[in-house]
């Protein structure tokens, strides 16, 4: 059961895990909006430890002005559910 829906405001978790992860550094700690649900996929962080964990993957839209302090474009990044936390009203 997916935790978030299209339109949810979320924050990419801060933190620098020791192992393999697919959260790009440039979005960590930033807030974005979920624009799509991309299905359930094997979580890479667990896979490299030999554990099978499957989670929903979301397309999350970030504004360039939030990420870089300038720019009018959007960046849409796919993020596994455990990479995200709620951020309602923070933007």
């Amino acid at each position: 059961m997916a935790r978030f829906t299209v339109g949810s405001e979320v924050r990419a978790r801060l933190g620098d895990p020791d192992g393999h992860t697919r959260v790009p550094r440039y979005v960590r700690g930033h807030c974005g909006e979920i624009v799509g649900l991309h299905g359930d996929w094997k979580l890479p962080d667990a896979a490299v430890r030999g554990t099978l964990v499957t989670e929903p993957v979301y397309a999350v839209r970030f504004r360039a002005a939030d990420l870089w302090g300038h720019g009018g474009h959007d960046v849409i990044v796919e993020l596994w559910e455990s990479y995200l936390e709620e951020a309602a009203g923070e933007r």
Binding site: H38, G39, V57, G71, H73, D74, V75, W80
Partner: protein, 207 residues
């Protein structure tokens, strides 16, 4: 890239080198490792040969065919944007093991594709990825300054055009559907496909 290479959908070829260092002995080292792994029974020569001979089954002609159909057939375009994998299947094109997401350029929106983490790329629909796509410069700059990157490709968009950059960080692979060029009305599908360039499918060209 991904280990799920059943469709060889994530290979990235043609090593455009970053970094000035190139090991002059790399070919010898590769041969040696290959021989050692075969001798240790980890792989066989036959297995290697099969992969080497298979070469590339992917080609940008596949992506171009999908775009041409979308231009010619509005119903297909809607289906493509809703479910890329199923739509590719309608044309007999395999898109397995990943989520195929087609993103359409319009008068107001231009899409650009990158993989900042490692260079993921839909090789079965686009063929081998270009060296520039795998370069550190592209991976670093596409998300931060897409207009400047596009300018290096000779693409100047109006200020009013919204740019969306898609970073392939998970299992979706993106195909840009360029805006149909003016003057292409009435062209047969094969001629439409010939207008669609590989760079147009990535977002670094307007066709």
């Amino acid at each position: 890239m991904s280990g799920d290479h059943g469709g060889h959908e994530h290979g990235h070829e043609h090593g455009g080198g970053d970094g000035g260092h190139h090991d002059a002995n790399i070919a010898a080292r590769v041969r040696e490792l290959e021989a050692q792994l075969v001798a240790a029974g980890q792989i066989t020569e036959a297995e290697l040969e099969a992969i080497l001979l298979e070469g590339w089954s992917g080609s940008p002609a596949h992506g171009a065919a999908i775009v041409a159909r979308a231009w010619a057939d509005p119903g297909f375009r809607d289906r493509l944007l809703a479910d890329g994998n199923a739509a590719a299947g309608e044309l007999g094109l395999e898109a397995e093991g990943y989520l195929l997401k087609a993103v359409a350029n319009t008068a107001d929106v231009h899409n650009l594709i990158v993989c900042t983490l490692c260079s993921c790329y839909p090789t079965n629909l686009l063929g081998p990825s270009p060296g520039w796509y795998k370069s550190f410069a592209y991976r670093a700059r596409a998300v931060r300054e897409p207009r400047a990157v596009l300018a290096e490709f000779g693409v100047e968009l109006p200020d009013s055009t919204q740019i969306t950059v898609w970073d392939s960080t998970a299992e979706a692979r993106y195909l840009v559907v360029p805006a149909r060029p003016a003057g292409s009305d009435g062209l047969p599908e094969a001629s439409l496909a010939a207008l669609v360039t590989r760079n147009g499918l990535i977002g670094t060209a307007v066709v």
